[in-house]
């Protein structure tokens, strides 16, 4: 299997009373009331350093993502971050996983096709092309996309991008949402006809169906942990089987918050960072999530008839978060055992580890990476490999077998 380091690039030093002052991590906190551009400059650099550190420590890939107008993560253009990572990891076998630029928010979407092609060229064919539909608030509020158009635009944009990457002739695009008179992309990706496609979602909806139909990799980006994802995973594999797809675990990705310390007792050092993450960063009220039109009609009916369990995150202590499996923390062996069990139970082929979360300082993040790559990663990596080929991994990286990671090497 493949294991990657995911980073949100959050605001790390929010005022202590942030949760009292703001009822939302999104849209409402005014920059000048909360943030400092010099601090944020440091965060961007730390984020890049931490991702490169993880790559050097043996992680198979590094993941960036796109969000807007919030304190929770603001790589507003993940290609900017990805290009730095592509350059700094050249000569390694690290996949550059952009998961990624949100197509419906970018017009024309050929801009993203170009950026991804540039990344594939800079990295020598190490790109994984992730295409999120985008969170409702990101797409419709920050970028003004008509809610009802978001998924339609996504599907049309992805068709356009795929064609633009591989078409042997100049073509005109006459779509519902995009029109271009002559598409002849410069550059094209090294990986032809296209880099591996990963599409994230937060449950089984029309997006998951689309992903299975198109034979891409579906990534369930949940913050509620593997323990609470069994139902989603089961439904995903049922869906795959129903649509005639094999059970190759690599068509499923999952994100997990992880904190490793030398002993279980010492893992308390993650407590305040986890609470900061769930109390401050993840707090988005329903009116910024359930925007009319963002769910298509059938999905809306489903969601109203079977509402997902609503955890009051701000009332959950670190102990709750651990006990309910939102975060996996502890000594290396305990974390390893929990992850091995989760990976097998959910059939995860691509594990995205959130080894930095909330207010975590860089030193603790590096320790977390060191322990993970030394004590856990070598046990996860061989899973599934004897039986299944990872068709959703850059071809040039598939055959390379690396030596066991040297923690902290060459940082």
């Amino acid at each position: 299997m493949k294991v990657c380091m995911f980073h949100l690039m959050p605001y790390r030093d929010l005022p202590a009373n942030f949760a009292q002052r703001y009822n939302s991590a999104y849209i409402d906190p005014v920059w000048f009331e909360v943030a400092d551009a010099d601090r944020v400059g440091a965060y961007y650099n730390w984020t890049l350093d931490e991702l490169v550190y993880a790559a050097n420590a043996g992680m198979h890939g590094v993941c960036t993502n796109q969000h807007h107008q919030n304190v929770y993560g603001f790589m507003s253009n993940p290609s900017l971050m990805g290009s730095v990572l592509a350059k700094l990891t050249n000569g390694s076998n690290t996949a550059i996983i952009q998961i990624g630029s949100t197509l419906p928010s970018t017009s024309p979407p050929t801009r993203i096709a170009e950026e991804y092609a540039i990344l594939d060229c800079i990295s020598g064919g190490r790109l994984v092309a992730g295409f999120p539909t985008g969170l409702p608030a990101d797409a419709t509020i920050s970028n003004g996309v008509v809610p009802l158009d978001q998924r339609e635009r996504f599907r049309e944009a992805l068709d356009l991008v795929m064609k633009a990457w591989s078409a042997k002739e100049v073509f005109a695009w006459n779509g519902k949402h995009y029109q271009l008179p002559a598409v002849n992309l410069w550059p094209r990706p090294i990986q032809q006809p296209h880099p591996p496609i990963w599409i994230p979602g937060s449950g089984i909806s029309s997006t998951a169906e689309y992903v299975v139909e198109h034979d891409h990799c579906f990534c369930h980006l949940s913050y509620q942990g593997a323990k609470n994802a069994e139902n989603v995973a089961d439904r995903y594999w049922e869906l795959a089987a129903k649509k005639g797809r094999d059970a190759n675990p690599h068509r499923f990705g999952f994100l997990q918050l992880i904190g490793i310390s030398e002993t279980d007792a010492e893992a308390e050092e993650y407590a305040r960072h986890a609470e900061y993450f769930y109390h401050n960063l993840l707090h988005t009220p329903p009116h910024y999530q359930a925007i009319p039109g963002c769910l298509e009609y059938n999905a809306l009916k489903q969601a109203i008839a079977n509402p997902t369990r609503n955890f009051n995150l701000r009332e959950m202590s670190f102990k709750d978060l651990v006990e309910r499996g939102f975060v996996i923390v502890g000594n290396p062996k305990s974390v390893r055992d929990q992850l091995l069990q989760a990976v097998k139970r959910l059939r995860i082929g691509h594990l995205m580890t959130l080894l930095h979360f909330g207010s975590m300082p860089s030193e603790l993040c590096r320790k977390n990476i060191d322990l993970f790559c030394r004590e856990v990663l070598p046990h996860l990596a061989p899973l599934w490999d004897d039986e299944w080929e990872d068709r959703w991994w850059p071809a040039r990286l598939r055959e390379t077998r690396r030596a066991p990671a040297m923690a902290g090497a060459a940082s």
């Binding site: 809610p147 009116h287 359930a290 925007i291 039109g293 009609y297 809306l300 009916k301 109203i304």
Partner: protein, 265 residues
């Protein structure tokens, strides 16, 4: 009052529209707001005492055809679609009354085809914009703020009735889905804010026009009543006491009275 339900297939077969027809008298086309036709039925019944009211559901909000919301792309198409609907209903030049989003549609029809609108009533329409009085986007409003923005008395009977859903599960789900989808289907034309160019076209409106506005409208401030009226040659504006964005629900009798007085019986 008996309601006859017509069901028409329009727009090259891509849009099915239910039209609730009630009452006797001169024809009156009623265009509902962002929350679907359901909340407006009591008000329509008042009008049906004097007029033959044709109340179509906006594309996407008729039973069994939610996909119609995707069949019409632009505001321009929507206006042309309403021309087709009026043709099919044999409405040559009816009076048109529209609320909120429906008010904007009514104004656009009257600006595009002035000869097809005999008289026009706009109740708290959206469609104009002032930077000092931004129109609130009701689709991304916190629940706690919504009742206060829509109603002068957020705890009053009209508000309670508006926000109520049936207790029985299936009916409840259907009711919530319908109100959310109605906002999605109408909101697509005015996202993210409702200034879509009416200001360039509004001078074309020739019909005598009555603009009614709830004095405590928390979505579009009452100052917009004059913004609308001042741009049309034959328009007058009246503010309604004790009403927010939905004066026809909160002060139904008074609003119906003003409408009848303006249209003549």
């Amino acid at each position: 009052m008996a309601i006859e339900e017509k069901r028409l297939t329009l727009w090259q077969g891509k849009v099915t529209t239910e039209i609730e027809v009630s009452g006797n008298g001169p024809p009156l086309l009623y265009l509902h707001g962002p929350w679907g036709l359901t909340p407006d039925r009591a008000f329509i019944a008042r009008l049906a005492a004097f007029y033959q009211v044709f109340a179509p559901k906006h594309p996407g909000t008729s039973n069994g055809d939610p996909d119609a919301a995707h069949a019409i792309d632009t505001f321009w198409d929507l206006v042309v679609y309403y021309g087709e609907l009026m043709d099919r209903l044999d409405l040559e030049a009816p009076a048109i009354i529209g609320h909120s989003f429906g008010g904007l549609v009514a104004a656009e029809i009257a600006a595009t085809t002035p000869d097809r609108v005999k008289r026009l009533v706009l109740i708290d329409p959206v469609g104009l914009w002032r930077d000092d009085l931004p129109v609130k986007n009701w689709m991304i409003m916190p629940e706690a703020a919504r009742a206060k923005a829509l109603f002068a008395d957020p705890a009053g009977e009209a508000a309670k009735h508006f926000f109520a859903h049936p207790a029985e599960k299936d009916a409840r789900v259907a009711s919530i889905v319908s109100i959310v989808w109605a906002q999605a289907s109408t909101g697509k034309y005015i996202w993210p804010l409702p200034d879509k160019g009416l200001k360039h076209r509004i001078h074309r409106i020739a019909a005598p026009t009555l603009v009614l506005w709830g004095k405590e409208d928390g979505i579009a401030a009452p100052a917009y009543a004059q913004e609308f009226a001042a741009r049309m040659a034959g328009a007058k504006a009246t503010l309604i006491d004790g009403a927010g964005h939905l004066p026809h629900l909160e002060q139904g009798e008074r609003v119906a009275g003003l409408v009848c007085e303006f249209l003549g019986r």
